[in-house]
Amino acid sequence: MRWNSLAEFMALGGYGFYVWTAFGVTAACMLWEVIALWRRRPAAPTWILQRRLGDERGSP
């Protein structure tokens, strides 16, 4: 282990603010994008369902 305590890990030799802001904002942006896409996710359109029905009927 590189760090002796949690406080030392968070401080990162005095650069904690810069490093954690960089990682924090990146994580926040990615999470926001995932959540936005999850909320926008489409229900299977009717043509998908039609196609599935078609497959079940055994059409080539």
């Binding site: 282990m1 590189r2 760090w3 890990f9 990162l12 030799g13 005095g14 650069y15 904690g16 810069y18 490093v19 802001t21 960089a22 990682f23 904002v25 990146t26 942006c29 990615m30 994008e33 995932v34 896409l37 999850w38 926008r40 996710r41 489409p42 229900a43 359109p45 009717t46 043509w47 998908i48 039609q50 196609r51 078609g54 497959d55 059409s59 080539p60």
Partner: protein, 248 residues
């Protein structure tokens, strides 16, 4: 004995591609989470402290992957644009549109994390040097593509206009890449290149490459999720009657 041939052109139509994309997303997402978790572990617990920059250098594990993705995704977006213009394929234009917001996000993050790295090491948040300015132009090019898509009412004209814009804008990518060689800049040269041995410790490189692979997988998963939204939203009004006959 029967030879099964996969008709790849089948997947170039939206009805076939929609479920395929849906099946790929969980695998890419799982790979992204695994690679990023491993990359963060190596980056924060295995990689040594830099003898010049102390712990500040650890921003590299998010800055370099974001900056690389910003450029990769623009090239990929331009590739879909060219394919869309050449084949007049709607799905190619939709892929182009699906990549753009993620590329813009990574460009913004590359600029922001670079700024947070510049302050403690260079003493300034921002300088108007070649690398930083060309990356800022990349952000404007992404925004241009997104704005053209959003502002033109007619779908086909919006696709063509933003595709041409992306194809013209892609010349900026090599300018960003070579900016540290062509101009005298504050930004350091490439630490990793195809032609020379990496100028960094092996564990640092491992952590960074794990994050790069994680960001790649993330981008693929997100782009596929977005293209599914776009397919569903665009085709809602036009039933696939003709294409249904084609595939079934």
């Amino acid at each position: 004995m029967s030879v099964t041939t996969i008709n790849w052109f089948r997947f170039s139509s939206s009805p076939a591609f929609f479920p395929l994309a849906g099946r790929l997303i969980p695998w890419c997402a799982a790979a992204a989470i695994l690679c990023m978790a491993a990359g963060l572990y190596v980056g924060f617990f295995v990689a040594p402290t830099d003898f010049q920059q102390g712990e500040a250098y650890r921003i590299i594990f998010v800055h370099v992957p974001a900056a690389w993705m910003s450029m990769f995704l623009f090239v990929i977006m331009a590739g879909w644009a060219a394919l869309g213009l050449g084949l007049r394929a709607r799905l190619s234009f939709m892929m182009m549109q699906a990549v753009a917001p993620t590329g813009a996000m990574f460009t913004f993050l590359a600029l922001l994390t670079g700024s947070l790295w510049g302050k403690p090491t260079w003493g300034t948040w921002w300088v108007w040097d070649a690398r930083l300015t060309s990356e800022l132009i990349l952000l404007f090019l992404y925004l241009g593509v997104l704005l053209l898509q959003a502002s033109i009412e007619d779908r086909r004209r919006a696709d063509r206009a933003s595709a041409i814009f992306a194809l013209v804008g892609v010349v900026n990518v090599p300018i960003i890449y070579f900016s540290v060689q062509w101009w005298n800049t504050l930004h350091q040269g490439a630490s990793v290149s195809l032609t020379a041995a990496p100028k960094m410790a092996a564990t640092m490189l491992t952590g960074m490459l794990l994050m790069v692979v994680g960001f790649w997988m993330y981008s693929i998963a997100v782009a596929l999720a977005r293209v599914r939204c776009l397919i569903a939203e665009r085709e809602r009004s036009t039933p696939f009657v003709n294409e249904l006959r084609e595939v079934s």
